[in-house]
Symmetry: D2
Subunit: 337 residues, 4 copies
């Protein structure tokens, strides 16, 4: 950590600060020739972070030298990490596609869509049983019944199942049905939920929040990992911007940046990322082209009758067409799909 003192810091400010840092067990190096404004501090940076040094008299700025995340950092596993979901490997050569409706609405329709996305090449089926909705008056999901339908779809198709958990009290229930537990964008800093899914031994799909910086995103992954669960998949799904041309703003640059900063696999959700089925195929191609390890895509047989997010759901036949196009792009960047 470097501490930059203010132009007008007094010798007293300086000495008081150095005394305080020494008491905390830190070694302070005073930089020569910079007008005495620079202090180098060696010691436990986490402890330093908790010290509100910015507000000490005479301090202009504190420059950390270490990243706040450890387990999630690329340095922790320089070769990258593959998350195994039964036979499916997320983070390997093959781009993994997770597809299905926004919500599980009923047994017959869900099984039908599951079969169709499998036929087109998906290996994981998605569907919400617990739905976070802006309005308390909107459909909130089928709950446990939805989970049972998801499990039935797995049994029948062999697809693995991903579904969202919203409440720390539901973690065990959801984990008993799902193969991957999804933490939704709105819960990216629901720290108690993150801790709870950190205690189980199933992969977690962590979706970036609407306003989450990439550093904060990795800190949320760190919450899960520091509780013992290292199997985290990151998902870019669009952030909020000033333009309502699309529902969210898909930040695809996050994919290569995250790949440089962390060893965790990174996938993209172009359905939420754009909010219109029409933009899903081109943005899915773009995501694969810049290195996404997977895609999460909403597919619905009758989007105009969907209980939620019909606007952004692809018809099964459009999904199949997209998959064919994606295979060419995957090959062009040295991967399979």
């Amino acid at each position: 950590m470097i501490i930059v003192l203010r132009d007008d810091a007094t010798p007293g400010d300086r000495e008081a600060l150095i005394r305080r840092l020494s008491r905390l067990g830190m070694t302070v190096h005073e930089s020569e020739g910079m007008g005495g404004r620079i202090l180098g501090v060696v010691g436990d940076e986490d402890l330093l972070h908790s010290q509100s040094l910015d507000s000490s008299p005479g301090v202009e700025r504190v420059v950390p030298l270490t990243k706040p995340y450890k387990l999630a950092s690329r340095e922790f596993r320089p070769d990258g990490h593959v998350v195994h979901v039964g036979p499916v490997a997320v983070g390997g050569e093959k781009v993994v596609v997770m597809a299905g409706p926004c919500s599980v609405e009923n047994r017959a329709d869900f099984l039908d869509v599951a079969r169709r996305v499998k036929a087109a090449g998906a290996t994981i089926v998605r569907g919400g049983a617990f739905k976070p909705r802006t309005s308390p008056y909107s459909f909130q999901g089928l709950g446990k019944e939805g989970l049972q339908i998801l499990a039935e779809a797995r049994d029948e198709t062999g697809l693995r199942v991903v579904t969202e958990v919203m409440d720390p009290r539901d973690v065990d229930l959801v984990a008993s049905y799902a193969d991957i537990l999804q933490i939704g964008a709105r819960n990216i800093q629901n720290f108690n939920l993150l801790k709870e899914v950190g205690k189980i031994r199933k992969p977690i799909l962590l979706k970036r929040g609407l306003m989450t910086t990439l550093t904060e995103f990795l800190m949320s992954a760190e919450y899960i990992m520091s509780n013992g669960n290292y199997e985290v998949i990151l998902c870019e799904r669009g952030i909020r911007s000033f333009d309502n041309a699309t529902r969210n703003l898909l930040d695809l640059t996050a994919i290569p940046v995250l790949h440089a900063w962390t060893h965790l696999p990174v996938i993209a959700d172009p359905s939420h990322g754009t909010g219109k089925w029409r933009w899903v195929p081109p943005m899915a191609r773009a995501a694969v082209a810049c290195g996404a390890d997977g895609l999460m895509v909403e597919v619905h047989a009758t989007p105009e009758a969907a209980f939620s997010d019909g606007d952004q759901s692809l018809l099964p036949e459009k999904f199949a067409e997209m998959m064919r196009d994606l295979r060419k792009v995957a090959k062009a960047v040295g991967r399979t799909l």
Copy 2:
């Protein structure tokens, strides 16, 4: 609800849509003279919202005619609503000041600060026992011990107590100690937590999220109210912007806008809203000048030693000075403080 059809919608699109709306029990009025592009739809708008009409063939846009929130709307209680917290009335003529440290750190310091903010005119003391921290390695709060210290401060000073609850499993525990339960910015769309605090009978302080529109803010209040708890206080505490000149961007215009849209009391938190104690007094004055029903302010006797948010904490003497200035502004706008 009005449905605007696309320029190139076919007669078939149009008829299919009208049939579908009719099956849902809606009455459809076809506007003459607008090229057949306008349909007026009368019926349950909540049901209509769930229909993904935007994605129906031929539809360009859907224009709702009703607000998505009901219980939180100004129309529900045109004269406004006062939330009573023991002897303290939030939403009346008197501007209510809630002050105290970010976290409860220990008994002695907390009682000391409580006495000092009371002496300066605060009527509610704040302090976090459960702390939402970006890093899993940061201080997470004293938990139950912190709640006990809060209760002791109330007993000794007569101040009422506000503190955050982060987990639906902790709602009863926190409610057994606190007078107001705070929902933090990061949990603004933690819907299960909102439902849970909707079931108790204590006032809720709901903080706007970093990326929450005012409509979404009221929808989150609606979650609490539709579960039975009508005693909600809204708190503007800064949103996220592109400029890091301040920690957050305090959106004071939200105060008069919310007062027009809802009957709920609205307060401001200039400590989180700016992130620097230096900007707190001017922004507190501004908040009162534009109609805030209260303020939440961080005060700490030794900010540079605070476990969290020291940068934005006022010294008790600065707080007292600010209170004196605020009284003049309150008077200038016809209120007391």
Copy 3:
């Protein structure tokens, strides 16, 4: 245009509004069965837009039925438009690459880079002679001397030349040297400059501003086109966001959305879009994968000595490597490069 009246609009409000619209030559259709809240208005929407109808007593909302841009709309040329720059066609099957240093710094280095980007497959060379710099103390470009070097590079290599014009007084000068005139992000709503480049007969490369909605972007194109110059190329170059992980936030979804809304060619600038040379190749691949008609890329032989934007400049050999990879992606989506 549809006008939605407020719930509490009086019959007087309603009649006054209808009278006013009639005086303007509009036909007003009153929708039945919607509580009298809906008025359909037929007439010149541009005239209507100038009427501040939103502020008329009793009006809740005005819903336009036509787009504010005409000449730039897809409807104007449903088959799309190809901008010809000498032998180079922007908007056709071939993805056009424009490359070169941020600034023209001296003759020898510029000619050297021009030759190298040509060898790698670029058909247009870029380089700034007039530089918009945040600081008045930074290098402001070589001006006319820079233009002469650009022209010399064209003569020697056969590459076409694109360079920025910042001042309406310089339009003729720049047009006498350059093949494409670039309007930079900071001048996206410098309307007098847009009008001035609308009067010449050379293609214009219009870069989206940091905070420009896609509708505003097309309105700025409309300024150029309505002055007579239809040869406009749009360039997505990143917008501003809350996260400083990258310099700007490249909004690649803008590419398919703009292709749907307008007939103008759309290219991407991943150098400004990301701000780091390391992220340029993956995002260039993504741009091609989602349909970009071209790319603008910064290349510099000694980035660490560049007068501006060295951080985001590729070395010529990295550029050549990227071009090889891009050819595969272009082929995968049915194009050449």
Copy 4:
């Protein structure tokens, strides 16, 4: 300037960097005990800024120690600066109110409004003769005729006149009629226009752009000042956000922050800052309460017939009422109005 080297920087990276800095005439201080990762560099920081040091091999981060603006900084004139506009002093004890219609529409209406805002206490009248409009089809202002009407209003009422200049070619013309030249939000980084108004000797009202950081704002002031014109008034007028509840997001915290960073006077424009006349009085009160040196407010006798911005214009009688309320707030914070 401090340079932080990467963890994995090689001794070769380090030596090459030190050699390069030495060649530029810099003195390099190597901090001991920080793993050799910290270099302190003393020399001309402007020269250093132009060196793209961030992109040098082995460099992680560059931390500047000086602000990029000099003439605009508070340090340049610690006691603050008062801009004199004839008899009106902006930046003194008295809060200065500038009021009038968005556009000058015709002689009679403008003179009428000028008289009425004067009667209510305004000392400067505003009105646009050159209008920056998003659409080329909207009213673009009366041009020179508008300037003549402005001058006539000054002659008749004694009010001083502020109006916008959009084009470097119009600076002399506008300066021959107006007392203050306004640079609009869209031209905040139109550097050639800034240079041009830097050459005249009339006060400049510089409006913050929709996406301008406070540092960039001061850099744009620096452009004007470094060309010789020190009489700059800054105006906060709302920035762009993700919420469309208001037209823009008024960032009132900018007022105390700018007062700390610069000696220039700072005013607020709550009309553009909110976009609705209804929110103007509360936000004007808030601006005065947090230290604004002045206000710019739109007033129109028939807002629903305004050629532009009718929604945000106050009726003259509402303006007079607001002025009465503002006097009380000004007094409460130790100022007059």
